[in-house]
Symmetry: C2
Subunit: 398 residues, 2 copies
């Protein structure tokens, strides 16, 4: 703490708290803000006035009035203040414009051809942003761009290693990507890059199914498997930002070779490839193919059921290990793991129960993402909003 913070520091901090509150909870009455933030009414009034002047919130008389007396004014985040969110996935590139408050105002998508290097995604992504920028009307203002990228540590399969924190280690490919995208976006400005599973975990924690849970594991599945992990309320990033590579936890020492060079990694047993192989559809790939197997299993197709069962066993196995390590309250299944989870939930739970210690799993809930496929986009936008929420006045001049 050292010296006491100055009144100006306290004010800026409170401005951030108020803006963060309405950003997460939407329109909120002054009365509720007073209660939630533990500040008195006149302070809330002054802070709101400052944020209105900065164009970050608006204030209105509520439409519904539940009781007599002068109604408490309602403070709303200003969606004209927005961020661009990009999601780089194995087989598609997505972009959205997201307003303060977290609503998606516009979205675009394009295919990512198999094996396209991350650096080559810069032009199509910039194109999507340009389209959205042309569609913006009025005095909308962008705070910057957040990027969620699938995969960070696998160089063997064409995926670029992207350190979330560029200062954390040598990461020439990540630096080149950042420089190229920053150049292509021009005035869309400040760029923040995060891992797909990490930003999904954070946003499910702040406004999804894991609100109030301080220990969660968010699993994203596609060809590979990665995790965004929150322990004691903080992201488990690791020393260089490469934590969460649960897809390379070896579960089967006698299993298949993995793209990383090891053998029997979790993703070789629960990734798309394993499911499609077990289903006798080894030639297919991608989200649609996975859904095809899951739907066939639901309809009674024996081989598809076998495939879902096999993969479900190994999902429960790995989740059991993670439960013993993290004792989490929630495990969330995203990407194609969502669909497999829905088809194999009972089996996953049964295997999990056999692997995990009772104490480690007794409060564990399994969930699908509350924000669905938008978790990564909204999470990417949060990366861009973070600067603004930390110090609204310093960052309002964008």
């Amino acid at each position: 703490m050292r010296a006491a913070p100055s009144p100006e520091e306290v004010r800026r901090n409170n401005l951030g708290s108020l803006l963060q509150y309405v950003h997460l909870h939407g329109a909120t009455s002054r009365a509720e803000l007073t209660a939630r933030l533990g500040l008195n009414r006149s302070t809330i009034g002054a802070l709101t006035a400052d944020l209105i002047t900065a164009g970050l919130v608006s204030e209105a008389v509520p439409r519904e009035r539940g009781r007599a007396g002068r109604p408490s004014l309602v403070v709303s985040p200003e969606p004209a203040v927005h961020a661009y969110a990009l999601s780089i996935e194995v087989d598609r590139l997505r972009a959205a414009r997201i307003g303060l408050g977290g609503r998606i105002l516009d979205r675009r998508e394009t295919e990512r051809p198999p094996g396209m290097p991350v650096l080559d995604t810069v032009q199509p992504l910039a194109g999507l942003v340009l389209q959205m920028r042309h569609a913006v009307t009025g005095d909308a203002r962008s705070v910057g761009t957040g990027v969620a990228v699938v995969g960070r540590a696998r160089q063997t399969d064409g995926r670029v290693r992207l350190a979330p924190n560029p200062a954390a280690g040598k990461d020439p490919a990540g630096a080149a990507f950042r420089a190229a995208l920053g150049g292509a976006l021009g005035v869309a400005g400040r760029l923040t890059v995060g891992n797909h599973a990490d930003v999904s975990a954070l946003v499910e924690h702040s406004r999804g199914v894991a609100v109030g849970c301080d220990n969660i594991v968010y699993l994203h599945g596609d060809v590979g498997v990665g995790a965004g992990i929150i322990a004691a309320g903080r992201r488990v990033a690791g020393h260089g930002g490469y934590g969460g590579e649960v897809g390379h936890m070896v579960v089967n020492p006698y299993g298949r070779r993995c793209s990383c060079g090891s053998r029997g990694c979790w993703e070789t047993e629960i990734g798309e490839y394993a499911l499609l192989q077990h289903a006798g559809r080894g030639g297919e790939t991608g989200r649609a193919a996975v859904l095809g197997v899951v739907n066939a299993a639901m309809r009674g197709d024996r081989q598809a059921q076998f495939a879902v069962r096999q993969v479900g066993e190994w999902i429960g196995f790995g989740v059991g290990n993670l439960a013993n390590i993290f004792n989490p309250e929630a495990v969330i299944f995203g990407g194609t793991l969502r669909d497999v989870y829905l088809a194999a939930a009972a089996q996953i739970r049964s295997r999990l129960n056999a692997i995990a210690l009772p104490a480690a799993r007794e409060h564990l809930r399994m969930r699908t993402p509350g924000l669905g496929n938008d978790a990564a986009l909204i999470g990417a936008a949060e990366l861009a909003f973070a600067h603004l929420l930390e110090d609204p006045l310093l960052n309002a001049c964008f």
Copy 2:
């Protein structure tokens, strides 16, 4: 932040920072405190005076004088202020009296007969504390007792499940243990219980080999294996305090039955039992037996070498998994794993390199505990000192 902290809050906070600094770093000159704590000289003088009045530090003219001029007074933690530390291990019970500053002033030890329930350790532990209390002379004051206990989640092998935080979940055995020990200790007062590996991790982080590392895995091995994990500078405790059970991460789905009911848990491959079995010494148990195998391997005994190699392989395997999950800077081998690590370091590293992604392991250092076998005792004392360091004046009246 809400309202600005009062001058009194700032002062108490600074008192805690100063006391914490000399507690961790030992005798420190006022000049260094001024620099390290970012406070001015007169504030340091006033804070020191307050802590002297409270009997928590003493001040003296330094013995050696490196340069001319008036020497800066040196502030030292007052070892008359002490904590009792208890360590409940598989085959022994240890107790120590530890002064503010972390020095062990007295220590006692007794055997724990095989299978003795945790509740039955209360009387012998209280006996050890009583012996030490009788040996105390002068105006020494105790801040309370910290307890490090091996194992938390295994009920199958006679180990009591002890939640570090009693409010976190139902834990009748832990509550009974706490009540019994509290009663037996009487005036030794305030009791704080933690897991053996957790407190060892924290103390290696604050004053051992992992100072400055924010992502560490401390492994404690005996019959079983547990971990104290720090990620992003915080302990990975999990929802109910049962995180870190890495010994029950299944590494070999076709392996041996584990005491937990599962099969192929890491501890079935790297615990004492596995090592002694491989060495053809299945009838032996305990620390001495493990050392016997390690020493025999060093002397060239083929079967002992085979045993160390087998176990080393599986240690590297599991550490590789943990590296992919946590991307830690340091992995520390405590308990009997320390000895096995020293005999098999090269092999462990080689297997780890095969399992862990390059990005996840490139800065990973493997270490033995800087505080040796005393890590758990000093860590237990830290549990007892924590209250005092948080608010020295509030807690100085003990």
